[in-house]
């Protein structure tokens, strides 16, 4: 019995070896980190790593919709090969990023990953993706660390079409100081890479402009009772509270700030993480007047995109990083087309390092979100940040200021 099993297994191994040898025949790859070989009728595999379930699902689903529109706009193929598009949920936290990263990095057919949604996910998933040789383009990571030269969180192969929070934090602080005319600010972060860095940029810029940062507090992402943190903040008499965090904690702060003595009239401001229909739900009637900084995309191409979104998904865009995701796919597609080697039988060879170099060499790419030029560390965005204001019962929020 065991002997027969042994024979069968040996045969399998021999067959597997032979098949592998056949598969590699005629393929020359001198790329330092390897190539993806796509047979004549095989698809080009592009994966997503976005938050598509849980409290922040609108952020990721919106981006995924953007990618699907991009695939549909380009006929669903790259260089004559169909596109295989699938992926993993990342949960908008480090644990989810780790799980999705481990799973996707094990799949060597993947050419590029579009993701992640949240910066905390990128910090843990990027080492895995980078090691696997992927090109990763994030539509919505904004933490400065990820593209800062020399920072341990900056990995080869990482790019993003979203703005860097060095820009967003500065715009928010300038808006608060110059437009609202406030001089005393308090900030709250939730320990995530995104929130911590963004409030830091905000606080530094606000102090540089001449304002006073009364306190920099932190909450837990799953915290519901904000009374003690809000009481601590109220003791400093701020005129604005800046909390660039996520749902549901952001909703609890919006609701509870108004019932904290001393904070009845304070301005409340968040960032793009709180640009979501969930804020309407979580914040209830108290969202009236709540402000967020967020990218603003305009133009006739964008209007056509929104019409297509409406047609394909039956709704107006539900979050803000759909156009960035569209551009992310387009950048990847253009880079693949410029480096892929097409063989006479239709086999496609994509050298991975060359693909990364092609991405980094992107200049003046005409995208939906603007004129995209990538830096060597991966910043490709053409950032244009506006300030929006929520009104009860009205979504999306209204643009109240743009630079």
């Amino acid at each position: 019995m065991t002997k027969r099993l042994f024979v069968v297994l040996s045969l399998f191994i021999v067959a597997a070896l032979l098949l592998t040898a056949c598969g590699q025949k005629g393929v020359e790859c001198d790329d330092p980190i390897g190539c993806v070989v796509i047979g004549p009728n095989e698809p080009v595999h592009i994966a997503y790593a976005l938050v598509v379930a849980g409290p922040n699902e609108t952020l990721g689903i919106d981006s995924r919709n953007g990618i699907e529109i991009a695939i549909s706009d380009t006929g669903g193929e790259i260089l004559g090969h169909p596109v295989q598009f699938d992926g993993e949920d990342t949960g908008c936290n480090a644990e989810g990023g780790q799980a999705a990263g481990t799973k996707l990095a094990a799949d060597s057919t993947i050419v590029a990953v579009i993701g992640t949604s949240c910066s905390s996910e990128a910090r843990v998933a990027m080492p895995l993706f980078s090691e696997a040789g992927f090109v990763v383009v994030s539509p919505s990571n904004t933490a400065p660390d990820l593209t800062e030269a020399g920072n341990p969180n900056n990995y080869p192969g990482y790019f993003r079409t979203a703005h860097n929070d060095q820009v967003q934090g500065r715009v928010a602080a300038e808006f608060a100081y110059n437009v609202l005319g406030v001089r005393r600010a308090a900030t709250i972060h939730d320990g995530s890479l995104y929130a911590e860095k963004l409030q830091e940029v905000f606080a530094n810029t606000f102090a540089e402009l001449g304002g006073t940062v009364t306190t920099q507090q932190a909450v837990d992402p799953n915290q519901t009772d904000m009374s003690s943190v809000l009481t601590s903040i109220a003791a400093g008499n701020p005129e604005i509270i800046y909390f660039p965090i996520f749902m549901p904690a952001g909703g609890f702060i919006i609701r509870q700030a108004r019932i904290t003595p001393g904070l009845e009239e304070v301005y409340l401001m968040g960032a793009d993480g709180l640009f979501s229909p969930d804020v309407m739900q979580g914040g209830g009637a108290e969202v009236e007047g709540f402000m967020v900084s967020s990218p603003l995309v305009q133009g006739p191409d964008y209007d056509a995109f929104v019409a297509k979104y409406q047609e394909m998904f039956g709704t107006a865009p539900i979050s803000i990083f759909h156009a960035h995701a569209y551009d992310a796919y387009m950048l990847v597609k253009a880079a693949i087309e410029s480096v892929a080697i097409v063989q006479s039988d239709g086999t496609l060879i994509i050298p991975r390092q060359a693909l990364r170099d092609a991405m980094a060499a992107t200049t003046n790419f005409d995208g939906l979100t603007g004129n995209l030029t990538c830096t060597p560390t991966g910043d490709c965005a053409d950032p244009y940040i506006a300030v929006y204001q929520y009104h009860a019962g009205q979504y999306p929020p209204e643009v109240i200021w743009q630079p």
């Binding site: 379930a53 849980g54 409290p55 699902e57 920099q216 507090q217 932190a218 909450v219 837990d220 799953n222 519901t224 009772d225 009374s227 003690s228 943190v229 009481t231 601590s232 109220a234 003791a235 749902m247 549901p248 909703g251 609890f252 609701r255 019932i259 904290t260 003595p261 001393g262 969930d278 739900q281 979580g282 209830g284 009637a285």
Partner: protein, 353 residues
Amino acid sequence: MFRTWRQKITMTDIMVWIIGLSIAVVVIWGTISTLQSGKYSAASWFDLVIKGLALGGVYALIAMGYTLVYGILRMINFAHSEVFMSGPFTAVFLANALQSNGFLSRQPLLGMLAITLLSMAVSMSVAILVERVAYRPLRNAPRLVPLITAIGASFFLQYTFRGFYGSGFEAYPTIEALNGYWRIGAIPLFKTQAVVIIAAVVMMFLLYAIVMWSKLGKAMRAVSEDKEAAALMGIDVDAIIVFTFALGGAAAGAGGILYILQFPVVHFYMGFIPGLKAFTAAVLGGIGNVPGAFLGAMVLGLLESVGPNLFLDGLGIPVASQLKDAIAFIILVFILIFRPSGILGERLSQTKV
């Protein structure tokens, strides 16, 4: 005399006393320096106390489920946090329906009553179901077995509800009748918190009355004392156990509605933290003891709410409010070291002592 006394005290005792004493010194020092700095107004303190008591009221109602079940079965029902979640997570759909057809703003009292009753009914059904499916077959198994089952049941329920209602969250409508505040002198008292505290106290008193003065309550206490003897006296032990789970479930469902009045967002994972806190409260007050659960919950709610600003702010600790759980649990640890049976003590029958 002195020698026997010295033999009784070990190094561990001395260490514990030293650590306890130093923590007490830190707490008192922090409190004094916070109060001296005058950073917070009286209105702020009053606000924190009221919010702490309101939170404590919710913990008390959840803690009832842990304490009643422990009193009878000597087991910790870790699935209770999901019993708590199931009620308000289901009732949110009724609440939103009532809001959209305007009933909730026309008849806030009737509407709230309907929502509360639905929440209580769902939590109660889930509690009874868990008892029937997960615990009854293991009634005579070693004590560790139902504990593990409880954790399994907890995960099962969480993901079942995630399957039912999705992984996102649902928000309760704002009850207009509870918006705003009454003024006591210059200090605002928010209606929501006031209503929650009053409702929690009334419900806790009702539960206490049921346990102490009704016939079923008497039977419950008899089963808790000695199952065999109670059965011999003609008490249907299984029925009493089901009643206990039902009572704990209903209390959790009602507590769930009081919780969403303060934090009106529900999701499948919402039960975990309040459940853990309520369990802590039950242990703090003396598990198996109804007034103990109430006292423990109020103390825990207050400590969490007032603690960070009162104890830590004066010491210059940055972001003190993030340490609120640490404060609550450190105090729990020390109460358990110096009074292992909780503040009011575990109610134990002769045979168990």
